[in-house]
């Protein structure tokens, strides 16, 4: 299982804070593409973190069971 978390504007747009997805041997980019289309997030600007680290090269990333993916809209603290 992969835990997926949504934050800020993206959580609002997806109408979801977190969910679990089965990995089924998918790559990170496949899972992201599934979730983006399911939640209609295509027009939004976001970064992706896996296990609390920003992933800059999404296509190379291999997921493991228990990983935590986060959809992060632009940061606006302070």
């Amino acid at each position: 299982m992969i835990q997926v978390k949504y934050f800020g504007l993206i959580a609002e747009a997806a109408n979801c804070n977190s969910e679990n997805v089965a990995e089924e041997n998918k790559t990170l980019s496949q899972i992201l593409s599934d979730l983006t289309s399911r939640h209609q997030l295509g027009d939004y600007n976001f970064q992706v973190a896996v296990n609390k680290k920003i992933v800059s090269n999404l296509s190379d990333h291999v997921l493991s069971d228990g990983d935590e993916i986060a959809f992060l809209p632009p940061f606006s603290g302070g």
């Binding site: 609390k52 940061f75 606006s76 603290g77 302070g78």
Partner: protein, 142 residues
């Protein structure tokens, strides 16, 4: 891991208390403090009434730890404290408090500026501006 997130606005008394706690450290000669205050901006005729902050806290805490370590490498500092609000902070309320102390003043200003910029750009915190009429818009940092 130091506690960063506080519920609601950061009070002047909390800041005074942090200052007082440093008065026993006799190697310190200079403190610099940055405070971010929620501005009552007007957007299309609607006035901001508060900002609602959320965060990916576990990641934010890891990142803040890294930022603190990097600042100790980069600048000659005795202490660094960073506090940020979660939840609702009304106009005029303080939502970020960055506190840097050093033996001498030379680097404290630059260190504070660097830390504030790091928090704004690298830490997953999300602000939503709430208007008087209960509409809202997601804050964008500049």
């Amino acid at each position: 891991m130091k506690k960063v997130f506080l519920e609601g606005a950061i009070s002047p008394e909390f800041i005074a208390d942090s200052i007082a706690k440093h008065q026993g450290k006799h190697s310190i000669g200079a403190h610099n403090i940055f405070l971010g205050q929620v501005r009552g901006d007007e957007v299309d005729g609607k006035k901001v009434e508060s900002i609602e902050f959320t965060s990916y806290e576990e990641m934010a805490n890891e990142k803040l730890h890294e930022i603190r370590e990097a600042a100790f490498e980069k600048f000659d500092l005795t202490c660094i404290h960073i506090y940020h609000s979660l939840g609702n902070v009304k106009v005029g309320g303080i939502c970020i408090f960055v506190f840097v102390s050093a033996p001498r003043r030379k680097q404290v200003y630059e260190a504070t500026e660097w830390l504030v910029n790091q928090v704004k750009t690298e830490v997953p915190i999300f602000g939503k501006e709430i208007f008087e009429n209960e509409e809202s818009q997601w804050k964008v940092n500049s």
